[in-house]
Symmetry: C2
Subunit: 602 residues, 2 copies
C-alpha cells in the first residue's frame, strides 16, 4: 500500500509550495517511469500539439461522470462515476462507462483526479482500477470514501491513493498541473479543478453550489475563480444539474434552522431523519440539534453507518461521544431522548427506512408518536417509491414531514444565477456545459450566450466526442472514441448486453412458453411430447383450456411435418413457434417468448 | 339500443321537475321489475336500515375510482375507473377494480352514475358492463366519451346510456335520488353528486377545482353546495388529489394567457402543443389563439382525434370549419400558419409526440424552428419518459417550453383552500376523504379537524371497507367486502395474478436457464442431454466457459442419481435445480429461473 498525503496550509498554493511538491512528484515520476526517453523535439511538439478533452460519461445523462484530458502521450482522467439503471435495464445493478479508449491507451494514463465523493463521480473506480491501476488523487474525505469502496472490492492495498487539500497543486506527467479549488456542494470537501496544460487553463467546476454559509469548512473560493479568470481561462467545464431553475439555491444552513424548529416542536416524541448518507453537513446539523435538545443519536443503514464512521474519523463530522449510541442501546432511552438518522430517503427497497415502514426492520418499529423527517427530494424516477414509504409510515400513525410540506431539504447544485456568477468570474474563451441531460446543456448554452458569450465558442458535446483545443482554437469531433454503457449485473461486468436485455424485456411483458418434443433421430417419429411448460404467461390452473388448445395446435403442426416427412429441426422449430405465436396472439393478444426444444434420441 | 336523455333547463331541479322525472322513471322501473313484491314492512325497515357506503377503488391509490351505495336491496354505483399499472406490474395494460361483491349482488345493482369522463372514472366500464349490464347516467360529454369506449369494445348497442344536464335529478330505485351539480375540473361537463337516501344526503364531489372563470360553461355551482349544506348533509365524500398543496389552483383561463403570449412571440414558426386529450378547455384555448393568429389547426394522436370529434359534435369544442385541417393538408401551409395539437404530454412510448421526437411519425418531422409546448405536468412516475421526449426534441433543434419553464399548465384539482371552501359550504356531519394515497387522506382529515370537525366523524377508509350510516350514526367495518386489483393483459382479464407477476419479475431480473434431459422410463438411463438453453441470463457467446461448466455441474448431479439408482422425476429435478442455482450464484451472484425438464421415453 502506498498512500501519500499532500498537505498545504496556505489557502492557495504559492509557486514555492508548488516547487516543493514538484520535486516530490518528480522523484515519484522518475522511479515509476524509468528509462523513459527525453523528447528532443519537445518544444516544437508543444507548439502544434492540441489538448484533447474527451467526456466518456455525464453528457446527455445524469450520472457516470468521467472526462479524459489527453495531451501528446499523456492522459489525465477527472472523476469516474456510476449511473443507476433506467427502468428498462431489467436486472442491472449499475451502469459504468465504456473505458475501452483508456484501456487501449493504457500506457498514456497518468492518474484519476476526483472532484468529490459522490457515487456518480467515484462509483466506477473499482471497475476501472481493476483494469488500469493508476494513482488516484482527491481531498481527504473523497479518498476516505473511495477507500471504503476499494476495501469492499478487495483492491484497497493495490491502489495508490493520494490525499490533497483545497488549494494544493499537483503536477501529473509532463503536461498537467492540477489545482484543487475549495467548492461547496451537498457533500463536504468537494473541489473544483484548475488544470493547467501547455495550451492553457481548463476550469472544471465538478458539482457545486455557491454556499456562503456552509456547515463544514470555508465557503466556495470565489476569489480563486476570479483570479484564474483574470489571468485567462481557455475552457470552462461547468455543471448543469440545476441550470433550468431560476434564482439561487438556498444555503445548507437554511435546512438546519427548519430541522431545529421541528426539534423544538417535538418534545417527548422520537425523531427519525432520513437523508443522503453522503450529506455530512446535513447529518452534522441534525446532530447539532440533537445535542442542543439533549437527545442521543443512533445511526442505521449500511451506507449511513459507513459514512458517519469515515467522516468522523477524518474530522468532517463532530459527534460528541456521549451523544452517539448504538441502535441496540436505543431501548434504554425514552422517545423524547432519541434521534435516529437513517438511509432510505429515496424509498430504496432495501434501505433501513423502507424496512421500518414495512415493519421489517429488526431493531426499529414505528410508533404512532414518531416524528419522521424525509430530508431529501425525490430524484426523478423515485417519486413513487418514496411516496409508498411515506404512506406506510403515515398508516402506522407517524407524523411524516417531507419536502413540499416544509423546506427540509436544499439541493447541492447551482441554479441559474449561481451559474451566471461562475461564468462571470471565470470568463472563459470556450465553454463546455457538463453533467446534464441534453435539454439542460442547451439551456446552459442559452444562458452563456445571454451573458455575451459567442455561441460558436460553446460546445454541447456527447459522450465520446472530442474537443481539440489549441491556444486560440477549438475543434469538435463527434464520435471520436468509443463510449457507452457497460452493465454491471451481480459479478458480471459487460456480460449482459442489449440482446440479453431485450430477452428480459420480452420475458417481463408476456412470460414464456416452452414446447419440448423428443424425436427419433433416424425416423423422425415423436417418442415423447409435445410437453408445454409456461411461466409468467397465464395462471395455468385457470387457463387449462387454453393450454390444452395450445398443445393441440402444436400437435397439428407436428402431424403436418410427419405427413410431409420433414424431420429437420430448424424447420420444425420455426413451424411450432409461428403456429403457436399466431394462436396465442389471436386468443390472448399477448406474445410470450416461445422456445421450442426438440430432443434427438439416437 | 336504448338512450334516454333527461333534459332540464332550470339550473336546479325544482320539485315539480323532479316529479315529472319521477313519473317517467317509475314507468321504467315498473316495466323492468315486474312482479316485484311490495314490502309490507317498508316503513319499519326504513327506520332501522342503514346506508352502506363501500368504496371499491380510489382509496390508498390514485385511480380506479368506484363506490357502491347500498340501501336494503338496492345498490347504486358511482364511477367505474381504471388505474394504470405500477412499475412492478410487468406486462399489465390496465388495472380494474375487483367487482365480485357487485356481481354476487347482481340483482341489487340499479345503475352506474358517472361524475366525469376521465379514464380513472369511466375506464373500467366496458369490463364492468360485460358482467353487469345496468344503465349508466352522466352528463352529455361524459356519456359521449363512454360511447367511444363501448364502441371499441363492441358493446355500445347493448348498453342503456342516459345523458343528463347539470341540475338534473334522477331517481334510481326506491331509495336513491341523484342530483348532478355543475362542477369545474380539467375536463368539461364534470359534475358533483348529491345523493338523497332514506338516511340523509351524501355529497360526492367527484374531481373538482373551484374555477371562477372556466372556458366552457358556468363556474362550479357553489350556491347549490351551500344550499344543500344549509339543509343538512350527512356525509361529504371529497377528493384529495391536491390536498397536500397549500393555496388555490389557478384558473384554466390563466393558461390561455400564457399560451397566447407564446403565439405572439412565435411569428413564422410552427407551433406544436401536447396536452391531455380530455382537457377540452385547454384545446379550446389553443384553438382560440390559433384563430386569433390566423393559424390552421391539425390534430394528431388517436385519443386526441377521438375527443376532438366527440366534443365538437356535442358542442363542447368550437373550432371554425376553416381552421381545422387534416394533418395531411399541413404541407400546404407555411410553418407560421400552423398549430399542431398532439397527444404524448406524458412521454407515452406510442403517443404521437414521442414518435415525432424519435423521427418515427409518418406525417410530422421536427424542424429546428419549431416551438413546442408541453401543456401538462408529469404525473408521478412519468418524469423520465417525458424528459426523454423533451431531450430528443431539443436535440433536433426545437424550442421546447414545458412546465417549470413557464406556467403552461394548471391542475384540475382543488388545493387546500378550495377544499376548505367545499367543507365550509357543505358542513357535513361525517366526512370521507376520497381519491388519494393514504398520506393525502390523512392530510385531508387534518384539514377537516382544523376547520372544527370532530376527528371521530372523519373516516379514512380503505377499498373494501364499509361505512354504515344511520340518520345520526356512522360505523366503519374494515375489509367488509372483497376488493383489489384485477389485471388486464391483452384480452385477458384476471388471468394474470400474483404468481404470474412473480415469475415475470424473476425472469426480468436474471432471465432463465432450461435444462432438458430425455430419460428411459424403465431403466433411468439418460438417452439425450442434458441440454442447456438460456435466455436473458448472459450473452452466451461470450460466456461459453460458464455454460460448459454449468453443463458439467448438471452431469455430475445426474451421475449421482444414476449411481444411487434414483429415477424419480421430482427428486432429479430438485437436485438439478439446487445444484445449478448454487453454482450460478457462486459464479455470477445472479439467480436465473431454472427450469429442469425431464422427458420420459417409453
Amino acid at each position: 500500500m502506498y498512500t501519500r498525503k499532500f498537505r498545504n496550509n496556505a489557502k492557495h498554493s504559492s509557486e514555492n509550495n508548488f516547487d516543493a511538491l514538484l520535486a516530490e512528484m518528480k522523484k515519484q515520476q522518475n522511479s515509476k517511469k524509468q528509462g523513459e526517453k527525453k523528447n528532443a523535439s519537445k518544444k516544437a511538439a508543444k507548439e502544434t500539439s492540441k489538448l484533447k478533452v474527451i467526456p466518456l460519461g455525464g453528457l446527455h445523462e445524469i450520472g457516470k461522470n468521467i472526462t479524459a484530458f489527453e495531451y501528446e502521450d499523456e492522459i489525465l482522467i477527472v472523476d469516474c462515476g456510476v449511473a443507476f439503471p433506467e427502468d428498462d435495464m431489467l436486472g442491472i445493478d449499475l451502469v459504468i462507462p465504456d473505458f475501452s479508449y483508456l484501456t487501449k491507451n493504457k500506457e498514456k494514463v497518468l492518474a484519476v483526479v476526483l472532484t468529490h465523493g459522490h457515487e456518480d463521480h467515484i462509483g466506477s473506480l473499482p471497475y476501472f482500477l481493476k483494469e488500469l491501476n493508476v494513482p488516484i488523487y482527491g481531498t481527504k474525505l473523497t479518498i476516505g470514501l473511495v477507500e471504503t469502496k476499494l476495501r469492499e472490492h478487495n483492491i484497497l492495498n493495490s491502489v495508490e491513493r493520494n490525499s490533497v487539500n483545497a488549494g494544493d497543486v499537483i503536477k501529473l506527467g509532463k503536461s498537467f498541473k492540477v489545482e484543487f479549488i475549495r467548492s461547496t456542494h451537498s457533500i463536504a470537501d468537494s473541489a473544483a479543478l484548475a488544470i493547467t496544460t501547455p495550451v492553457g487553463v481548463v476550469v472544471h467546476t465538478g458539482d457545486f453550489k455557491i454556499d456562503f454559509t456552509p456547515i463544514q469548512g470555508d465557503m466556495i473560493d470565489l476569489q480563486r475563480f476570479a483570479e484564474l479568470g483574470k489571468k485567462g481561462v481557455l475552457l470552462l467545464m461547468c455543471e448543469s444539474t440545476n441550470v433550468e431553475r431560476p434564482g439561487y439555491t438556498m444555503s445548507e444552513r437554511s435546512v438546519g434552522g427548519i430541522i431545529d424548529r421541528i426539534f423544538n416542536d417535538s418534545e417527548g416524541r422520537r425523531i427519525m431523519v432520513a437523508t443522503f448518507s453522503s450529506n455530512i453537513d446535513r447529518i452534522q446539523q441534525i446532530v447539532n440539534s440533537a445535542v442542543k435538545h439533549k437527545r442521543k443519536v443512533a445511526v442505521i443503514g449500511r451506507s449511513m453507518t459507513n459514512v458517519v464512521k469515515t467522516a468522523g474519523e477524518l474530522g468532517y463530522l463532530d459527534i460528541p461521544k456521549t451523544t452517539l449510541i448504538d441502535v441496540q442501546e436505543a431501548k434504554n432511552y425514552s422517545d423524547g431522548e432519541l434521534v435516529i438518522i437513517t438511509t432510505g430517503s429515496q424509498g430504496e427497497t432495501m434501505a433501513a427506512l423502507s424496512r421500518i415502514a414495512l415493519g421489517e426492520h429488526r431493531q426499529i418499529e414505528v410508533k404512532s408518536t414518531d416524528r419522521i423527517i424525509i430530508s431529501a427530494s425525490p430524484i426523478p424516477g423515485n417519486e413513487k417509491s418514496i411516496y409508498k414509504v411515506i404512506n406506510e409510515l403515515v398508516k402506522k400513525g407517524a407524523d411524516v414531514i417531507y419536502d413540499g410540506l416544509m423546506d427540509v431539504h436544499v439541493s447541492g447544485h447551482a441554479r441559474q444565477e449561481e451559474i451566471k456568477i461562475m461564468h462571470s468570474l471565470v470568463k472563459p474563451k470556450f465553454l463546455m456545459p457538463i453533467h446534464g441531460e441534453y435539454k439542460m446543456l442547451r439551456t446552459h448554452k442559452d444562458i452563456a450566450c445571454e451573458l455575451g458569450m459567442d455561441k460558436d465558442n460553446v460546445f454541447i458535446m456527447a459522450n465520446g466526442d472530442m474537443l481539440e483545443l489549441g491556444k486560440n482554437s477549438a475543434k469538435l469531433t463527434q464520435n471520436a472514441v468509443p463510449s457507452g454503457q457497460i452493465f454491471v449485473d451481480g459479478l458480471g461486468v459487460g456480460d449482459v448486453g442489449n440482446i440479453v436485455l431485450r430477452d428480459r424485456r420480452h420475458l417481463s411483458q408476456d412470460g414464456l412458453m416452452i414446447v419440448v418434443v423428443a424425436m427419433d433421430k433416424a425416423t423422425g417419429e415423436i417418442l415423447s411430447g409435445p410437453d408445454i411448460i409456461s411461466r409468467g404467461f397465464v395462471y395455468v390452473r385457470e387457463s387449462e383450456e387454453l393450454m390444452d388448445e395450445a398443445k393441440a395446435v402444436v400437435n397439428e403442426a407436428l402431424d403436418k411435418c410427419e405427413r410431409r416427412n420433414i424431420n429437420e429441426w430448424a424447420y420444425i422449430k420455426t413451424l411450432i413457434k409461428d403456429t403457436l405465436r399466431d394462436y396465442l396472439w389471436q386468443k390472448t393478444k399477448r406474445s410470450p417468448m416461445i422456445l421450442p426444444i426438440v430432443m434427438d434420441i439416437e
